[in-house]
């Protein structure tokens, strides 16, 4: 069945209209959320911001606002969760770092992690640029590298050799960080404790032995999930199970 020109134009117009309506709806929700925050209605503000985040809008500033709304609403766990998510997207945001530092100062549990200075030195780019910036930089240097070397085979020019070598050095510096960031979700899930206090058990049931308690905002490593329970590790040697609903994965 042939689609006439007229029908194509109609479809395009309708499609464009629906996109614009959707964008306007997001803007209204955002302004509503900001307005509620200014009126000190933090819970409602947080819900509005979260409705935008659930529409797959991945944005560090939006997550920062969510963290603020939850923190003002005295929900420390969710505040730190959203701040940590924002930190992965915008690590060089000074306001975010300031607020996250303040939120961490309010947590009860003392973190017992050993620092991994070598990893921080090797992958230092992740503390300066967002993962998206690192990926785009890698792709750019990679493209320049292969094009320069290819052209060098044909014309044997000094400029293409120099450009290729510089791109190679930059690529070697930044590519490991990009790969590290992409592979993090496969071998390491960090999570935040959400309720005020949660008990960690020796098994996947609340009738098991209670090993220790954790409090809102504590950062744990998620090792396994089964039967609605998650196996977590806190610090160097504290491992146990707790209900999945009590943690938020970063």
């Amino acid at each position: 069945m042939l689609i006439s020109k007229k029908n194509i134009i109609i479809l395009v117009l309708l499609g464009f209209t629906s996109l614009v309506i959707a964008a306007q709806s997001d803007i209204k929700s955002f302004m509503q959320a900001v307005s509620l925050y200014q009126d000190q209605k933090y819970q409602q503000s947080a819900l509005e911001f979260e409705s935008l985040a659930s529409k797959n809008i991945v944005n560090g500033d939006l997550y920062y606002n969510l963290g603020n709304a939850y923190l003002k609403n005295e929900n420390l766990g969710r505040a730190i969760l959203w701040y940590e998510r924002a930190l992965r997207l915008t690590p060089n945001n000074p306001s975010l770092r300031f607020n996250l530092e303040y939120a961490r100062s309010l947590t009860t549990d003392k973190a017992e992690y050993k620092a991994w200075p070598l990893l921080n030195v090797i992958f230092f780019w992740q503390n300066i640029f967002s993962s998206r910036t690192i990926q785009l930089s890698c792709l750019t240097f990679n493209a320049i590298l292969w094009i320069s070397f290819g052209l060098n085979f044909i014309w044997r020019q000094r400029l293409s050799r120099i450009t290729g070598r510089i791109s190679l050095i930059l690529l070697i510096t930044i590519l490991p960080t990009a790969i590290y960031q992409l592979s993090l979700p496969f071998f390491s899930h960090a999570a935040i404790i959400l309720p005020e206090q949660v008990s960690v058990y020796s098994g996947r049931t609340e009738k098991a032995t209670k090993l220790f308690n954790l409090h809102s905002g504590a950062k744990v490593l998620l090792q396994n999930q089964k039967d609605g329970f998650a196996k977590i590790k806190f610090g160097e040697n504290k491992v146990g199970w707790l209900p999945v609903k009590d943690i938020g994965i970063i």
Binding site: I10, L13, Y64, S95, Y102, R132, W146, G150, L182
Partner: protein
């Protein structure tokens, strides 16, 4: 059809505004008692406007700020701005909040007038007996320029939430809140109150009848459920942690104060009033009272005391003409205490005598007004002696602009500490709605290897280009080797083959060619006729020697063959 669709899209995309801008005024209640406030809300639909509250004469008006909200109704967006005010009645009776003008985009819209009935007697609910809010001023009849202490006393016998104090307007005064707040307990009529005192330092800047308006205390009080009989657990469970009782917003006002600021009397004859009001003293000193002509010494005059010390001006010096005076910046050491400003102000002068001799620096006078004694007081420093010795070599006078610099104490750095802690505000840019997710593994890897085909293409192309060239080079090397071998071994067969290969390489044709074909092919490759003929002759000679009996001129033939082959390759 397309036009209809376009029209529908425009209607949907362009927000449909409600028709016109309008305002409404409302109050939370129309019946109050004297001393009770009424909350006035002015709601502006579809825009903001400038509200003129000047026509409200029967009430003291306190603004509580504005709020804005956006509502969606179907496809339309409505913006609503609400201005909040708290009004305290000035009198009892039927009071009117008149129609208020609100200007918006060149047009003026009016609210409807509201009648409020204010009864004289205050009922039990008009003023909580558990909360007292008072203001006082000491001294009650200050002089102009005299520092006074304005005290706000908040007395609470119950728990309150989110208490906020609205300062009054201190018209006719300079005002400054004093550091520190006094907190103590006080029993009044058998009830224990937790008292907080907030003090302000006021200095009247004009005389006459001045008034300080009421301060306001805005707080939330838990509503007591008075029907239920109280039990021993009430104190425990009435705590905000356990209790889910409702909170009621209440506003309290202090009494306004009328202050009669007295003018200062005329200063005594022969004195110059310094402008200082309080209790003061003056002293002076010389850094060096024996110096050589042209050297400098520092005269320091110190005014100290309590009152408006910071207003102290440099004293007038009546020094001998032989002394040149250079004034330095005054140094202050003044602290703000509970009673007001207290400290000292140092005025340093560099004195440079231009003639030798014994000089007398007369006393410096200070006249100030003492409000406790209600009269002017004066004090003078001691006169100082300065001995100036003649200069031995009449050294040059110091430059006119130079002053003797007093040694200043090094400024000690202070650790910057947080006073309070709070989070930084929201990001209100619409950039927050842009999707900034990173690429997934698959896409990243795909983009990473995407330049590879281009690189492989370049590689293949370069190799192909080089293979043709290398093939030719290989054949040339072969021919040269064979030629050397033929020459060494005097092998005519090899020589003949080498000549044939060289001709094939040059012409690109196969080996078996006639003489005519060889000449034509070589000429096509740009060789001249003589060379072509010479080539053919040499081949003939080699053939004759191979198949014939002649073996003469072998060396010559080899030489000719070498020349020809060299030229061909």
């Amino acid at each position: 059809m397309i036009k209809k669709i376009l029209f529908i899209c425009i209607v949907i995309l362009v927000p449909v505004q409600a028709l016109g801008f309008d305002v409404t005024a409302s109050v939370d209640r129309n019946q109050i008692s004297l001393g009770q406030p009424v909350h006035l809300k002015i709601i502006m639909n579809n825009g903001e406007g400038d509200i003129n509250i000047a026509p409200i004469k029967d009430f003291d008006v306190h603004s509580q700020g504005e709020s804005t909200s956006i509502t969606m109704s179907g496809s339309s967006i409505q913006k609503i701005c609400t201005a909040n005010y708290i009004l305290f009645p000035k009198n009892s009776g039927q009071l009117i909040i008149p129609a208020l003008a609100v200007k918006h985009a060149g047009q003026t819209v009016y609210t409807q007038p509201i009648i409020i009935n204010v009864t004289k007697t205050s009922n039990k609910q008009s003023q909580s007996s558990d909360i007292l809010f008072q203001a006082s001023l000491q001294p009650q009849k200050p002089f102009i320029g005299q520092e006074c202490i304005y005290t706000l006393k908040v007395m609470l016998a119950t728990r309150v939430h989110q208490a906020q104090i609205g300062e009054p307007e201190f018209a006719g005064f300079t005002a400054q809140e004093l550091p520190g707040r006094n907190k103590y307990d006080q029993r009044v009529a058998g009830k224990l109150f937790a008292v907080t005192e907030i003090k302000y330092l006021l200095t009247p800047i004009k005389n006459g009848q001045l008034s300080i308006g009421p301060a306001t205390l805005n707080c939330q009080i838990p509503l007591a459920s008075s029907n239920r009989p109280r039990s021993m657990f009430d104190n425990f469970f009435n705590d905000s942690f356990f209790s889910s009782s409702r909170l009621e917003t209440k506003v309290f006002q202090t009494n306004p104060l009328e202050i009669n600021v007295q003018p200062l009397p005329a200063s005594p004859a022969g004195t110059i009033f310094s402008g200082l009001v309080g209790q003061f003293g003056i002293s002076s000193s010389l850094s060096n009272n024996r110096l050589t002509e042209g050297d400098s010494t520092t005269l320091t005059v110190t005014i100290s005391g309590q009152g408006n010390i910071m207003d102290a001006a440099p004293p007038k010096l009546d020094l001998p003409k032989q002394i040149k005076v250079y004034a330095d910046s005054p140094r202050e050491d003044i602290k703000l205490q509970a009673e007001g400003h207290k400290g000292s102000k140092n005025f340093a002068f560099a004195l440079v005598p231009t003639a030798a001799g014994k000089l007398v620096l007369p006393a410096v006078n200070l006249t100030w007004f003492d409000p406790d004694l209600k009269q002017f007081r004066s004090q003078a420093t001691k006169s100082l002696q300065l001995e100036v010795l003649p200069a031995l070599n009449k050294p040059a006078m110091p430059a006119l602009n130079q002053t003797e610099k007093t040694t200043s104490k090094p400024v000690s750095k202070q650790q910057v500490d947080f006073i309070h802690k709070d989070i930084l505000p929201l990001n209100e840019n619409l950039d927050c709605l842009q999707n900034r997710s990173s690429l997934p593994w698959s896409l990243f890897a795909l983009f990473l290897i995407s330049p590879l085909p281009f690189f492989i293409f370049c590689l293949v192309w370069a190799k192909l280009r080089n293979s043709e060239t290398s093939q030719t080079r290989k054949i040339k090397l072969e021919i040269q080797k064979e030629l050397q071998k033929a020459d060494k071994q005097k092998d005519l067969h090899l020589l003949r083959n080498t000549l044939t290969k060289a001709i094939s390489l040059k012409t690109g044709l196969s080996a078996n060619l006639t003489e005519k074909e060889i000449i034509i092919a070589l000429q096509k490759q740009g060789m001249n006729t003589d060379f072509c003929q010479q080539t053919v002759n040499t081949i003939q000679q080699v053939d004759n020697m191979l198949f014939g009996q002649e073996k003469n001129n072998l060396d010559e033939i080899y030489k000719n063959s070498q020349k020809i082959i060299k030229r061909l390759i």
